[in-house]
C-alpha cells in the first residue's frame, strides 16, 4: 500500500495481516534486545502540525525499534511560521530522501493532501476530526489480545463523537473486522451520517452500553466546547459520564477503554480509569507494536 490515510482500500485480510504482524512486533518488544533491522536504511519523517506527545513518541519509537532513521518536524519551530505552505514543506523534506511521512494536522483531509504532494508513503497520525487509523488499529489489537477475535464483539463508544477522529476510525475499522459499534453522544454531538453497516447511533447511554464487551470513553474536547454543543459540563457529566454505574449494564468482564488524554472525572470516572478492567495503559503500550506493523507493511510491501 502507498498510504494509510483511513481504511479505504485496506481489505479485511490485509488488516488482519497487520494485526498478526503487530503480535510479532509485540514479542520483539518483550525481548532483551528490543530492536530488529527490518527497516534499516529507511528514513521516516514525523510531520506534526498539531500538538501531540504520545502519538509522536509512539511513532518515533516504532520507527527506531525497526532501525529506521527518524526525523521529527513540528510546525511551531519550523518555516511554516514564516509562511511556507504545506506543499512546499513536504516537497522540501522529500528532497532529503524521506521514505515515509507521518502526518498530524488539525485540518481534516491534510494527510490526503500530503499524499498527493509526495511519492513517499504517508501515514495519517490524525487529521482534524476525520481519521486516526493507527489509534483504531491499536484499539482493535487490544481487543483482539483480550478476546482472541473481534468477530461478534459489541463495542460502545461514548462521548464527543462529532469532533472525534478516533470514533470515526473505529467505526470504520471495527465492523470490517466483524465487531458491532454503538456510538453514543448527546444529539448535538452525534452526526447522523456516521450510521452504517455495523454502526448504530444512540443518545441513550444505557442502551449503548447494554451487553457491550468494551466501553470506550472519548475525550470531551473542551477547546471546542464554547460553541453551544452542550448546555453545561455538569449536565454532560450527569448523563454521559462512563462510570461504575454505567458499567453495570455492560457485560461482566467488559473492558474500559480511552484513547487519551483523559479528562478524569469528566467523560470518565477517575477511579474507573484505574480499575482492573481498564486497558487504557495497555492501549498506549500496544501503540508501538501496531505502528511498527503499519510502517513495516507500508515500506516493505509493494504498493
Amino acid at each position: 500500500m502507498k498510504h494509510l490515510l483511513d481504511f479505504q482500500g485496506w481489505s479485511k485480510g490485509s488488516l488482519e495481516n497487520v494485526l498478526e504482524t503487530a503480535k510479532v512486533m509485540s514479542d520483539v518488544l518483550d525481548r532483551p534486545v528490543k530492536k530488529v533491522p527490518a527497516l534499516q536504511g529507511f528514513t521516516i519523517c514525523n510531520v506534526f502540525f498539531e500538538n501531540s506527545t504520545r502519538t509522536r513518541l509512539s511513532f518515533e519509537l516504532a520507527a527506531r525499534r525497526m532501525s529506521a532513521d527518524v526525523l521529527t518536524f513540528t510546525s511551531a519551530t519550523s518555516s511554516t511560521t514564516k509562511g511556507e505552505s504545506l506543499q512546499d514543506t513536504i516537497s522540501t523534506l522529500e528532497q532529503m530522501r524521506v521514505d515515509c511521512f507521518i502526518v498530524r494536522h488539525g485540518a481534516s483531509g491534510a494527510a490526503h493532501s500530503v499524499n498527493k504532494f509526495t511519492k513517499a508513503k504517508v501515514v495519517n497520525a490524525g487529521d482534524g476530526r476525520r481519521a486516526h487509523p493507527t489509534q483504531a488499529l491499536l484499539d482493535a489489537f487490544t481487543l483482539q489480545q483480550r478476546f482472541g477475535s473481534l468477530e461478534g464483539l459489541e463495542i460502545a463508544i461514548v462521548g464527543d463523537v462529532r469532533h472525534s477522529r478516533v470514533a470515526r476510525s473505529n467505526a470504520e475499522l471495527l465492523p470490517k473486522l466483524g465487531a458491532k459499534v454503538r456510538l453514543c453522544a448527546p444529539a448535538t454531538l452525534l452526526p447522523r451520517e456516521l450510521e452504517a453497516d455495523g454502526v448504530t447511533l444512540t443518545t441513550n447511554l444505557k442502551e449503548a452500553v447494554s451487553g457491550a464487551h468494551a466501553v470506550m470513553a472519548l475525550r470531551l474536547q473542551l477547546e471546542r466546547m464554547n460553541t453551544g454543543y452542550l448546555p453545561s459540563l455538569e449536565e454532560y457529566r450527569a448523563t454521559y459520564q462512563v462510570n461504575s454505574k454505567t458499567m453495570k449494564h455492560a457485560r461482566e468482564n467488559a473492558l474500559i477503554m480511552h484513547p487519551g488524554p483523559m479528562n478524569r472525572d469528566l467523560e470518565i470516572e477517575g477511579d474507573l480509569a484505574d480499575h482492573n478492567k481498564s486497558v487504557i495503559l495497555e492501549q498506549v503500550r500496544n501503540g508501538v507494536p501496531v505502528r511498527m506493523a503499519v510502517l513495516y507493511h507500508l515500506l516493505v510491501g509493494k504498493s
Binding site: V24, D27, V36, G301, K302
Partner: protein, 195 residues
C-alpha cells in the same frame, strides 16, 4: 506449477523427483547421528527450525535425537522476515510469523535447521535473529538440501543431500506436515505468470 519468487508469480515445469519419503527419513536420521557425534551427545543442545519447512524438519531431528540418546532436546521456531537483507524477496504483502523459542538460548549449542541451502542469505538472517535472542555457545546449520550458489561465506554443518542445480531451477521440498507428502522435486523456471 507456479512459484512465488521475489513477490512475482512464476511458472516452472516439473523435471524430476529427487528424494522419496524413505530418502528424507534416512537423511534426517543421518543428520541426527552427525549432530550427536559432533557435539559428543545431546547435552545442552537445542534445535531451531526456520519458517516454514525448517520447523517440521527441526521437530523430526529433535525427535530422532531423543530416540537415539534418551535426552530431551528443546526445539523452537524462527522467523527471519524482519532480518532479511533483500526486501525484493518480500511479496506484495509481507507475512511476518511468530518466532517461538521458549527456552533461554544463552550458553546452548543451537542447531538451526532449514530445508534448502541456496545463497546463504536466509542463514545469515537466521544468525542475526538468533543472536538477538541471546548468546548461544555455538550455532550450527543443518539443511536437507544444499543446492549450491552460495553468495556468502557461510556453509552448512550438516547436509541431507548435495544437489548441484542451475539458477533456473527450483528445488521444492515437500513435507507431510506442510504439504501432505514427503518429497523433494526439481522444477525448471519458465517465466512470469501474467495477470
Amino acid at each position: 506449477m507456479n512459484f512465488l519468487i521475489g513477490g512475482i508469480m512464476k511458472n516452472a515445469e516439473f523435471k524430476a523427483r529427487l528424494l522419496e519419503p524413505d530418502d528424507i527419513r534416512r537423511a534426517v536420521t543421518r543428520i541426527a547421528h552427525e549432530i550427536i557425534e559432533r557435539n559428543k551427545g545431546a547435552q545442552n543442545l537445542a534445535i531451531v527450525g526456520v519458517h516454514t519447512r525448517g520447523i517440521p524438519l527441526a521437530a523430526r531431528i529433535a525427535q530422532k535425537i531423543v530416540e537415539l540418546e534418551g535426552v530431551q532436546v528443546p526445539n523452537g521456531k524462527l522467523d527471519i522476515t524482519l532480518y532479511r537483507d533483500d526486501l525484493s524477496e518480500v511479496g506484495l504483502q509481507p507475512i511476518v510469523r511468530q518466532t517461538e523459542v521458549p527456552f533461554d538460548i544463552s550458553s546452548r549449542r543451537i542447531v538451526m535447521v532449514d530445508d534448502v541451502f541456496y545463497t546463504g542469505r536466509t542463514a545469515r538472517a537466521g544468525l542475526d535473529a538468533l543472536i538477538d535472542l541471546g548468546r548461544p555457545s555455538s550455532i550450527q546449520l543443518a539443511v536437507l538440501i544444499d543446492r549450491g550458489h552460495r553468495e556468502l561465506p557461510i556453509r552448512a554443518d550438516y547436509v541431507g543431500k548435495n544437489i548441484p542445480t542451475s539458477r533456473q531451477e527450483i528445488v521444492k521440498v515437500k513435507l507431510l506436515e506442510t504439504d501432505g507428502e514427503d518429497a523433494v522435486e526439481l522444477y525448471e523456471l519458465r517465466g512470469e505468470v501474467l495477470g
